[in-house]
Symmetry: C5
Subunit: 159 residues, 5 copies
């Protein structure tokens, strides 16, 4: 039995938490046991402690999902939130996958919603593979994987 | 019985602590037990330790309220203070809701006072819901909630 | 009996430690018991650990006094030092009041010396009130207090 | 018996983990006992907790390998990841050698791949020497060693 | 018996570790007992954990010596390294004196070497005084001491 936490925010303009939970359900095979718990907090700076609480309760991994606004202060908040996620993980000794989408990454609301859904699903896949199929990540090592936009692909040394 | 801490500063130009306490009293239903304790410190960099002390005393959540001045050094102080709040929460394993208002967010003193009151009240509502009605936050997930200025609203993926 | 630590630096160009100790002695009433211990370190990045040692020895609060030079590297040092103070406080569970004066805040050496003395004294008063008279801080909440330059004063919501 | 962890990412465009493991195998003498374990995570912000887990399992040192993209947000991610590595090391009390290559360091993909391989191998050599031959590092002290691009070399005081 | 750790890097272009050890030997009086241990690591981001290990082994203070290159990425590394030193000190409860020299502080290699030697020696003197003669630092409080370039000197309040 693996336990996966999902934390998302009321600040985000797209329901990232539902996207994460949906993807995890789709990936889980009949033979695999999975418990998913979702917690909703106001904003991205509230993600770290909520994730830490889940890890301390015994969850194996947490997806921490948030949208970053386009004002300079929003980007500073993302930085603070991100540092909080580092601290929470290192202290708990278990991973939190941060799924952050920046408003300025998208050209309009339509693409923003698409990106939030897509990146969340791809990181939910990463969380699933880290717990159930780490060999998948090993095969992808150094291949320029991206979550949301197209993969960058691998490069080679010319000899 | 839920215990809510409120920490605010003498630096702020509006009595955010009183606004937080007032809102919590208005929200509490007759059937709900709530203890509120308020602590006042000089400035925003003093919030983290004061909040940590309350959490260590057994408080369930703390509202940490501060105003950020308009000088570059003030913004750096806010950054430092914010990182302190992350550390305090992660170490305590219980949430601190930061309620920061930046002077430059408002066009004049009149709007600044309004914003400080409004944002504090809305975050007091968040603290109340996190403790008593987490289902309210679940329903608001991904809907673009804002504290103070108008909500941004949800966006959808076109299929 | 309250114990107050004072840490200051050889880097500062004004004797902030002496100003802090002097002010504490002036404030202490005959009926109040106070122990003051002063420690001097080279620069502002040495303040956090020195303050942490005092808090771990049982001191109730520490005043950490430093001057920040005018070079970009000095400002980065102040930032690092400030983050260290946050960590030290949060880990110790007791407050450190940072008293930092930036060279560029003053128009000349004369005003710089005045500001270093004045801000140190006002923060020594804050430390004294936090320990002996927290009600004084409660009355000052949201009134725009400043240490050194004139207070900003309170603002109100027009209804 | 020395235990060396290698953590790398699927985000990187070159297989840094394989380069690290290969170099360690080449360096190990027949008389030396070495265990190498490799873990692959999605991105650089996932390195710190993965390295911390290895150190907590008893590994003596970890090589944490990542590529930093060329967007401003990538550089901020590197900063966050780097701070996480500091925390993980300091809390674990054992070293993590960060091997970060920034896309903008190279003029094209060809040089980027070369730099990723070369820097990883040189840091793998550092990890090997730290564990088995610390005297090698003592002899290199203050000699301007670089990993990847040419060494800067030593400078002397003219008397 | 006092124990002093010295940590320096292979990245630096001048042998700061030797300068620190040399100065400590010159300062030690026949009646004073001193143990000095030197550890060499690759770069400045490896200083914090190495210093932490020494403090945990019972060393009373550590000199952490590094040179900061002139590229923007080097300055960010210094920032990360510096934050690591704060964490290590605060967690260990014993001081680490950071001795950082930035390449851009010097006009040429000749002055850079001179500055690296001089600053290291002056901070070695600080470490020595902190352990054996704290009264010396008390007398220097607020007098504008600098390590390397000339002292700034004290300023006074005109009354």
């Amino acid at each position: 039995m693996k336990r996966i936490g999902v934390v998302d925010t009321t600040f985000a303009r797209f329901d990232m938490g539902a996207a994460a939970v949906g993807q995890l359900k789709r990936l889980k095979k009949a033979s695999e046991k999975m418990r998913v718990k979702r917690v909703v907090v106001p904003g991205i700076k509230d993600l770290a402690v909520a994730a830490k609480v889940l890890l301390d309760e015994g969850f194996d991994i947490v997806l921490a999902c948030g949208m970053v606004g386009s004002e300079p202060i929003d980007e500073q908040c993302a930085f603070v939130a991100d540092l909080g996620l580092q601290q929470a993980q290192v202290l708990a000794g278990r991973p939190i996958l941060g799924v952050f989408v920046y408003e300025r990454e998208a050209r309009d609301e339509q693409q923003l919603a698409w990106l939030m859904e897509r990146r969340t699903e791809e990181h939910a896949t990463n969380a699933y593979n880290l717990l159930y199929h780490p060999d998948v990540l090993l095969r992808q090592a150094g291949t320029g994987q991206r979550q949301g936009f197209p993969d960058a692909g691998p490069i080679r040394v010319k000899r």
